[in-house]
């Protein structure tokens, strides 16, 4: 009796487990899956920011940043840059009279010359910029005031420019090409550079006007309507921007590839500057040979056809000559910044080292029994 009941108990012990398993199989158990994800037990890296753990990072940053900074600084210092302000705000400046007598409507260009001396010769290619200051090309309404599809050669936009161009959309009933305020305010000074020999003769320095715009702008974004030939016909029925002296198809009559919308000076201008004081690439002075510098030191004269008024907004106009490195123009800031940050990191590294010795050791000894 006892034995049998004992056995029965043993038997009884099994079926429930079996049946419960069977039940789990047949009826889906509501028990949550025991997966690492659902139970939030995924293997994980748990960094703790303490002096001890981040020490190396600081030193590494310091060690990397300082050389980069020095490199940048040196590179920047090797870039030669020269700048002439030809606005003519002061009475003794050469362009004073031009600046004062300006009006958009005058037909006769005002000419003036500025002389300057380069102390050092400029090696390799020299980039010639014009710089404007206090010119807010980034004003929201100004930035909007253009029609990209018109500039892309779209015929319907040519005859019916976007509303964004208002009020420079039509002139006397004709659509303006290129429309908008940006095009309308195109920088139209002409700059010519002459080197003055020791004997006083002026040698014109050849200025290349192509290759100053982005390749993609020139070849993709900007297109003349109906190809580059016979622009006059293509632009028939359009008006020139109000402030312009000549229509768009006469921007560079000599070179079909640089005329109309794909005129590079125009393209450069149309890429609106980010900041109110900016420079825009004007010409490139190509390196002649390896022996002679592109611009030897000495006296130069800059002939300016003074068209562009800047006094209405307290602006300044400059001509900038600059050599170029891989990091662009001259700018010592980044180099200094890298050196400074690198040094700070290094210094912080040292501070952390001290802290580490003072605190972390205590923590570690307290936390981790050896």
């Amino acid at each position: 009796m006892m034995a049998s009941s004992y056995n029965a108990k043993e038997e009884d012990g099994h079926p429930p487990s079996g049946s419960s398993h069977g039940g789990a199989g047949a009826v889906k158990s509501k028990k949550p899956d025991n997966t690492a994800f659902k139970q939030q037990r995924l293997p994980a890296w748990q960094p703790i920011l303490t002096a001890g753990t981040v020490l190396p990072a600081f030193f590494v940053i310091g060690l990397i940043f300082i050389p980069i900074g020095i490199g940048l600084y040196v590179t920047s210092n090797n870039i030669k840059e020269f700048e002439v302000d030809y606005t003519g705000v002061d009475i003794d400046r050469p362009c004073y009279s031009c600046a004062m007598n300006f009006s958009w409507n005058s037909t006769t260009p005002c000419l003036c010359s500025v002389e300057f001396t380069l102390q050092q010769p400029f090696e390799s290619n020299v980039f010639m910029y014009y710089g404007l200051s206090n010119f807010y090309q980034n004003h929201r309404r100004y930035v909007k005031s253009r029609d990209d599809s018109q500039l892309n050669g779209d015929r319907s936009s040519l005859t019916n420019p976007s509303k964004e161009c208002e009020p420079y959309r039509t002139s006397d009933g004709l659509p303006i090409a290129p429309c908008g305020a940006i095009a309308n305010s195109l920088f139209n000074d002409t700059l010519e550079l002459y080197h003055i020999d020791s004997n006083g003769t002026r040698n014109a320095i050849p200025l290349v006007k192509k290759g100053i715009a982005w390749w993609t702008d020139k070849h993709v974004k900007f297109r003349n309507p109906g190809g580059n030939n016979n622009l006059t016909a293509a632009f028939h029925g359009t008006a020139k921007p109000v402030n312009w002296r000549k229509p768009v198809y006469e921007l560079d009559p000599l070179d079909n590839d640089n005329n109309g919308f794909i005129n590079e000076d125009f393209i450069v201008w149309m890429r609106t500057a980010a900041l109110p004081t900016f420079r825009k690439l004007y010409r490139i002075i190509q390196k002649k040979s390896s022996t002679t510098p592109t611009l030897p030191s000495g006296r130069y004269v800059l002939d300016i056809t003074y068209n562009y008024p800047v006094l209405s907004f307290d602006g300044r106009k400059r001509m900038i000559l600059s050599t170029i490195s891989w990091m662009g123009g001259k700018n010592p800031f980044l180099g200094i910044a890298y050196i400074t940050v690198g040094s700070i990191c290094f210094f912080l590294g040292v501070v952390l080292l001290i802290i580490h010795h003072k605190y972390d050791t205590r923590n570690n000894s307290a936390d981790i029994p050896s």
């Binding site: 049998s4 009941s5 108990k9 009884d12 079926p15 049946s19 419960s20 028990k31 949550p32 899956d33 025991n34 659902k38 139970q39 939030q40 994980a44 890296w45 748990q46 960094p47 703790i48 920011l49 303490t50 002096a51 001890g52 940048l72 710089g131 010119f135 807010y136 090309q137 004003h139 929201r140 309404r141 930035v143 253009r146 990209d148 500039l151 009020p167 959309r169 982005w214 993609t216 993709v220 974004k221 890429r271 500057a273 900041l275 420079r279 209405s312 907004f313 307290d314 990091m327 662009g328 980044l334 890298y338 940050v341 990191c345 952390l352 802290i355 923590n363 936390d367 981790i368 029994p369």
Partner: protein, 1312 residues
Amino acid sequence: MTWRSPLALVRDYLQGQRAREKDLRNLVSNLPYEGLEKRKQPNRYFLSNAIKTTKYTLLFFIPMNLFEQFHRLANLYFVGLAILNFVPAVNAFQPDVALIPICVILSLTALKDAWEDFRRYQSDRKLNNTPCFIYSRKEKQFVQRRWKDVRVGDFVKVVYNEIIPADLLLLHTSDPSGVCLIETANLDGETNLKQRTVVSGLCNTSPEFEPESFNSIVVCEKPNNNLNHFKCYVEKPDKEKVGAGIESLLLRGCTVRNTDHAVGFVVYAGHETKSMLNNNGPRYKRSKLERKLNTDVIFCVILLFTMCLIGALGHFLWLQALPSVPPYLVPDSNGHLDSPSLSAFYMFFTMIILLQILIPISLYVSIELVKIGQIFFITNDADLYDDDTEVRMQCRALNITEDLGQIEYIFSDKTGTLTENKMVFRRCSIVGTEYPHKENAIRLALLAEVDLEEEVIFNQHPQPPQTSWSLDAEDTNSQDSHRRGSRCKSKVAASAQSDVAFSSPLETEVIPDRKLLQQISRAESSSRRKTDPYLDFFLALAICNTVVVSMATAQRRRVSVSPHAWQTNNALDTLSNVVKNAGCIFTSCWRKPKRNRTVSEGSALEDDSFQPPLKMTGTVNTNGIQTYSLHTPSQGDKPAATLDNLRYEAESPDEAALVYAAKAYGFTLLARTPDSVTVRLPSGEDLVFEVLDTLTFDSNRKRMSVLVRHPITKEYVLYTKGADSAIMELLGTPYAEHLMTRNIAADTQHHLDCYAKEGLRTLCITKKVVSDNVYESWLVDRQRALAAIDNREELIMDTAVQLEKNLSLLGATGIEDRLQENVPDTIMALREAGIQVWVLTGDKPETAVNIGYACRLLEKDDLVINMSCKNKLACTSILDCTLEEVRRYSQDPRNVDTTPDISLVIDGCTLTMAMSPDLQERFVDLAKRCRSVLCCRVTPLQKSRVVKVIREKLKVMTLAVGDGANDVNMIQAADVGIGISGQEGMQAVMASDFAISRFKHLKKLLLVHGHWCYTRLANMIIYFLYKNVAYVNLLFWYQFFCGFSATAMVDYWLMIFFNLFFTSVPPIMFGIMDRDVSAEMLLGVPELYRTGQGAGQYKFSTFWVSILDAFYQSLVCFFIPYLVYMDSDIGIFTFGTPLNTVSLFTILVHLSIEIKTWTVVHWVVMFGSVALYFIVTLAYSAICVTCNPPSNPYWILQNQMADPMFYLICIISTVVALLPRYMFHVLKNSIAPSPLVQARHLDRLDSSTKEQWIKEWRSFRGGGQVKRSRLSTPPSPTLENSVDINPETPTAAENMEDDFTLNVTSQRPVHT
């Protein structure tokens, strides 16, 4: 269809309105009007049974959904901005583009709503088309229709296992005694069967019900949502009124069980049914964090306005400073330029549009996503899953997960929450003699141990003795094995799927006390057996209850048995079979103890002596007329394992415990119908008592009685059981005068006090013999009360009180309610976590204090303040005194470090006084200083009031946890309500925000998930605000260089994408998955929970620090590129590209500083975001030749990426921007590490050393070891060191609503 004038229609509508609004409704049968057009129908004004829970209709979805969505202020704000963008004077972007974000958000939400609504529509349609039977006059029978065809006034037949389509007034059932059993699980989750009876005296008891003969008027009250209450009377043609209550109402959504078919009259249909009225969607709570977030969003708005104001002012000054009109100032189309002040005014609005993302549009959406993710993880936690009941943790409120991490006060119910609410009969006292049931106690202790090991599974089924094997062996065997399987399973999977609510051997088995058994056998054999108090005592235990008897094998066969088979096999028949087959019952009964390892010897000895004489005869008269007869002896050839088949389903677990106890002594409750109770005596006789009336329990009387007619003596006997306080006053005076009975009362009282000290729940059992003429006169009153419409409940109660007096005390019982597993441990942990735990219970102070010690709510060396006073004056002085003492103690310099652990025990009526407005402050102040508070004898309303007062006065986060209907108020009053899906139905769960199945789950829920959810969400929100400010400020700084003209230097699409795609996923993932400290650590060191309490991580200062950091970072991100590109030929959008990139890097690396745990998901998301940024931007820059003027990003990023400067800028800006924050973290973690950081350090150790450290940490912080203390050996209540300022013993009426929670109903005044 005849044409009707509009006026008539309107009138009809108004009449309908009025008919629905009336307090009483007169309903008549639809049958005479069958086939008539609608306006002739008498019940046309009442809603039909078709339901529609959808919010929208197909046609009006878009406008309605938009309307709904625009209730959100944020959406309105963004639409306003989008509209503002269409005003030419102020627009910042292309108008149509600016619509995109808001459209995306709106359409996503609309899509979600539409899908949800569609699902509702589908389920509605399914429900509406469910078939049901409606009586048709034409066809003279019940015909199959669909639910939606059911109308008020119809006769509906529901068959076995069918769901009831509408609220039906039960008129007829297949059961001859007019009973219908329903299961209300669909409604409230309670799985025990509820008994419904037909409205008496309406239908002649012919076997078939004829609806056409029904010509009475049913008058019922206006529909309400009270599931436990219904008022109605039926007016017969002869003006006789028959009252009916909830006991005759079949509720829509319930299932008919154990009854072949039932016919009811539809009183409420469709949306007016009680179940639909109870069905109000998910609750919407606002979490504390979200409330705080809203104030921060307001600060963001202020910040935005300030920035816009600066912009407008700057623009004005800039315009003023211009000497004349420059070429870059574009006039409007007429060539006219606005004056500076006007442009500045316009500029203000333009700036708002430009800087709008400072108010995070995506934050709210992100928070919702994060919470969904958090809930996913909480519900999927295997530790919060209860294997026994197969129930997962449920999150019912979707948006307060993070509140779980901030709880400061927990208010807990006792019964069913701290304890199992599985009642175990422990001791009893009969006529002044105590029977301690030592064997039973030993068995329980053993069982408890086994239970803890969770290894041995007890099989409580007796092995049918070989000797009694028989012809039916096969049958019985299969039955038995089937049952055994299910039983074993139900031991493992205790009660949720519960065939039977109280099924573990713990409750069902009681080992009889040896002395008591002898006493009974003596009584049995004695001559005055009819009036022997011992027999009466057990008869009372067996009879005086509302337990439903059912068969384990026969009940609820849902699919296996066809209704036809069941038809001939209803309860009574089965019972008669049972009786016929009876034999060897006691042999098998007494064999049960053999399963017990230690006690079997002792009880085996008694086997023989208690082998009852198997002399049984009889038939059960199926006509329903109860007779008593001796049954013919069964020859022992028919085994009677069937007696074990009996299952007792009780509304309250202690009733079941008492019935099982009676059964152990041989008084087996065999059957219960509304009119009769069959009890088998130890001698084997079956006594059939005619039940004359049942005076059900209510919380005012705190007792229940059953009036029966004794089959032998033919006396009217009233058995009453109830709380001792309610009973002791009612003891008859003649007995009181008599010295011996006085002693009985006194002795019993003494025993009761002992029981209470042991933590047992006590009940007194009394008997009263009612003389015939008293009964007759009482019956008249009673019937009048039953038929009454006005004050029906009060009258019924009065009649009950009338009868329940001059009782004679039979004895008392002590029932143990065992503590749930790990309760002391959980309470300790919660307390260490800085949470004050209050226990609010309806029990008496002694019981409560005892449980308090058992669950370590009170400690031995605690200072226990016992507050209990009768009047307010005393209460005031006690409060003052105590407060003064406590204050002095804490101010005493000697006690600086040794803060005493003060605990407060307060009873219900003192609590009421203490909570009165003038004493409230003092009480709260005192309670604040107490480590734990125990409130005894509190009513549900008091519970919620306590919660409210503490919550409002102390401004703390409160959590209420409870399992019964009496906790609903409290659960709803607290910030976080937690329901325990236990024994007492689902009302608490339905009202709760979270539902767990065991109290111990609270520990992980709060300490781990609460902490995680809170830190995650708090950090995510701070990060989100930071992110927006940091990004928007780039635009703001740029304004200083573009004449405050609201130029954006980043393409607008990229700006949208930046927030929508590039930087949205990492914070969401951060909010869902980050894990600052591991779960083991949080459980091991509950102290870590404190970081979330109070203001927690999301402080006001945190917000401002992160905003300042955002300012700094944006300054760096802007000015480093600015200084690099100063005076160069950089274009606007070429300049914007590195800014955007730097910002992305900064924002993402900032997040990675905040991320504490890097899993695969983190890496993928982080690198994915960066990759996505470059891929999308590169693709966009490559494709977009003339699109999206003016930004036109064509080839810009490509150009930039070819430039080494771009990378140099990105690297240094990111480093500089994040250096301070990084440094701050490093220094803080190194010099003054927070406990969380220390925990993270420990986390990295291997598990064994970790455990060791956790232990040391805890002991160092004074946590101490947590011992498991069990109730079986409770520490004696050490009241020696308590400040016992109350000499009076509590005499207030004992509150027993804990015992009978289901009966707590709100009593509505009746209007006629």
